[in-house]
Amino acid sequence: MPKDGGIGASTKRREDVRFLTGNGRYTDDINLRGQAHAFFLRSQVAHGKINTIDTSAAEAMDGVIRIFTAKDFEGVGGVPCGWLITDKHGQPMQEPKHPVLAEGKVRHVGDPIAVVIAETLDQARDAAEAIDLDIEDLPAVVDMKAALSADAPKVHDELSSNLCYDWGFVEENKAAVDEAFASAAHVTSLELVNQRLIANPMEPRVAVGDYDPWNDNSTLYTTSQNPHVIRLLMGAFVLGIPEHKLRVVAPDVGGGFGAKIFHYAEEAFCTFAARQLKRPVKWTSSRSEAFMSDAHGRDHVTKIELALDAENNFTAIRTETYANMGAYLSTFAPSVPTWLHGTLMAGNYRTPLIYVNVKAVFTNTVPVDAYRGAGRPEATFQLERVVDKAARELGVDPVELRRQNFIKADQFPYATPVAVEYDTGNYDATMDKMLELSDYAGFAARAEESKKRGKLRGFGIAHYIEACGIAPSNLVGQLGARAGLYESATVRVNATGSISIYTGSHSHGQGHETTFAQVVADMIGIDAGQVEINHGDTANTPMGMGTYGSRSLAVGGSALVKATNKVINKAKKIAAHLLEASEADIELADGKFTVAGTDKSVDWAGVTLAAYVPHNYPLESMEPGLEETAFYDPSNFTYPSGAYGCEVEVDPDTGEVEIIGFTAADDFGNVVNPMIVEGQVHGGLAQGIGQALLERCVYDADGQLVSGSYMDYAMPRADNVPNYTVDHSCVTPCTHNPLGVKGCGEAGAIGSPPAVINAVIDALQRGGHSHVTHIDMPASPSRVWAAMNAK
């Protein structure tokens, strides 16, 4: 039984009290003295030439302070892209400029054209309506394949085409893969769409820029998952402000799911405008604005083929994917369909040959970037759908086909043909656990019972792998990342023994204030209440890369362990001095330093006090104080995996799908706080089920965003989702980080979409609709009904 507040305990979250009483401090809760308000005038057309912007009438309106357009940004950099992809010919991707405000052309609905700054938000909004815009409509491209035709309108006139890159991975394997297909006993192929989604954290984005002219200091308060990354990108590439003159604060942040990783134009704008006006400038996104300005997710169109030999062994996989970049390259956009997707195409299987082709395409739509899972859900969906389809075509049990091809527990570490090495895993164990918890053996009887009620019951399985703990810096540097991906922590022990932690990881719902304290408290053996976690402010935390890719505990937690070990090592030296013993004989347990084999001891607070009141202290050999910083750069990714089972009932009259049960058996390695881990899985499952059954971002042919509000974009609600059965008892600890942890934030969203769709197909097949072999997501009632009734 873990100690309360230690590693392994379901410690209640300390952050909850402020959130439950209305005392959270989110960015929109910040109002600075003298603050002005910004309202962004955005394009209503998908593609157009800006002829004139007449702001004269608007400028004369009450409360208007200034109106900014692109001409105010001459000499200011564009919003940068953080990842350079090299195409299959060895050439760099096409990388267009992304201006803070549209220059000459608008390229998507929502592209910002002008910003009104006024004393109140209402005044700014009213004045924006008085701006006279002359925009000449240009034909828009929305469909990716159409965008690549020779006569397609170009999103960026200065580029040679709408193709960002054509990437082949592993290009050297292509011929061998083609050969394997030519000699295959069976080939299963599947064309599918991984639809465009909108992350929709419940807190819309907010930016408050502040400027202190007397010290030339800029501060940005923003809704970010990674304030240091924003400082780096905005300071170095957009505004030219050195780090010591730029502070970025991300206070309580109301969810991210990827959409708050990226550096956005509004952040640079508010920081810039505050400097120009010498007063604070605040922008709060409305939800409508969020739909057309937050980076979207997914939006892949793929053909996948699986080759099998006569014994049903997988021999090769070949994919061709079109990936929508939208109108500009968002911060990490180019990496999502490539390194975060292609490297996962081996899944849990021993397929020896894999070739992945990805064509990234510019269209007149909102930029697309990482959304919960980012590339890995796309890979998993293709793979787990095609494996299921193959099982059906071959007339074999989908569980057995998977098991037959699993990488087995004794085959780790396992190097895949797509350039990653899985350190640990036990896929049969998670499969067994899922089948047990979901009572798979009893499914046939339940299906029979459904049939009596006129319903079609189906069971769908998916087994996923993901790569988390992003990422070894030297590796990602070779792959085109324009940043390192380490994490940092400072452990500041105070004189009385309490501890202040400063971490580069950011919490926006994950509960780090609780779990990071559990780790440190456990290592030292003190009460977790003595440990305070500080994050989200570049002024007081060491340079860190923030939270995404399920990396916080695996990378940030490892930095924390490293720094805490440095503290413990120094504390032991102090204890040895105080106890007049050899350092090698000092043991730390339960917050007490003891000379091994004796009853001589000094407690934690005795050592920390000596560090800061060094009257009896080895000053000749050691500095006073007890504070250490560590940076941790992972040597590999972590590889969480798991088996998901979804049981559905389809109403054959309406096509409506009801999820009867959902079981997730995950291997996350070691777990610090089971309650929080389970909550992360629940949330991921709801997003994955949302993708499978409800959510879809829709553009019409002219590039108008049709699903531009919660009236049109179907978010999962309480009555759309089931209770989940989640389990994390199958543990193969990560071998290369000190906590043995793998990461749990994205798993639910990765494994669940194929499980749901496999279940729907299974229900229809069992119900006699054998012609239905695939339904694109979301499997809405109309789509399911249409598929069932297609002749």
Binding site: K12, R13, E15, D16, V17, R18, F19, L20, T21, G22, N23, G24, Y26, D28, D29, N31, D122, N200, P201, M202, E203, P204, D252, V253, G254, G255, F257, R287, S288, L437, H508, G509, Q510, G511, P674, M675, I676, E678, G679, H682, G683, L685, A686, Q687, S709, Y710, M711, M715, P716, R717, A718, D719, V721, N723, Y724, T725, V726, D727, S729, G748
Partner: protein
């Protein structure tokens, strides 16, 4: 601008409102009660739910001037008199019914209204009642569990497998 006076969490509070000023903005911007959150602009998300004269309402659907003199309860007024979490708030913490905390105020206000109307709701009733409150973090499992637990019902069978 018109002066609007409300009784908020038992205290008389006044501020200025235009005809178009929403109760949600009035609470946040004029009265400084930032616990009420605004998550959308189509009255869909429920983050802004408060109680007006005992009824749960989305405060973004109410004009501040229209509720002059009303008795309003916000999330800031929900804790026990000694500042400790009330039964429902405590159940949210105990059952991990919140993650980022942004939808939480509206969720608590809506759920407290449900329990006032229906002290022992079924799980289906809880899910149906909270259909107007969107949470993107929790997948609802633990929110439903927290509300059921706060109503005094046994939630041990919805405990996730350990």
């Amino acid at each position: 601008m018109t002066k609007v006076t409300l009784t908020v969490n038992g205290r008389s509070m006044s501020g200025q409102a235009e005809g178009r000023t929403l109760l949600s903005s009035f609470l946040r911007e004029e009265l400084g009660l930032t616990g009420t959150h605004v998550g959308c602009d189509t009255s869909q998300c429920g983050a802004c739910v408060v109680h007006v004269d005992g009824q749960a309402v989305k405060s973004c659907t109410v004009l501040a001037q229209d509720v002059e003199g009303a008795n309003v309860t916000t999330i800031e007024g929900m804790a026990n008199a000694d500042g400790s979490l009330n039964t429902l708030q405590q159940a949210f913490q105990d059952h991990h019914g919140l993650q980022c905390g942004f939808c939480t105020p509206g969720m608590v206000m809506a759920a407290s209204s449900l329990l006032a109307e229906n002290p022992k709701p079924t799980e289906a009733e809880v899910r149906h009642y909270l259909e107007g409150n969107i949470c993107r973090c929790t997948g609802y499992h633990n929110i439903v569990k927290a509300v059921m637990a706060a109503s005094g019902q046994d939630v041990s069978d919805t405990v996730a497998a350990e």
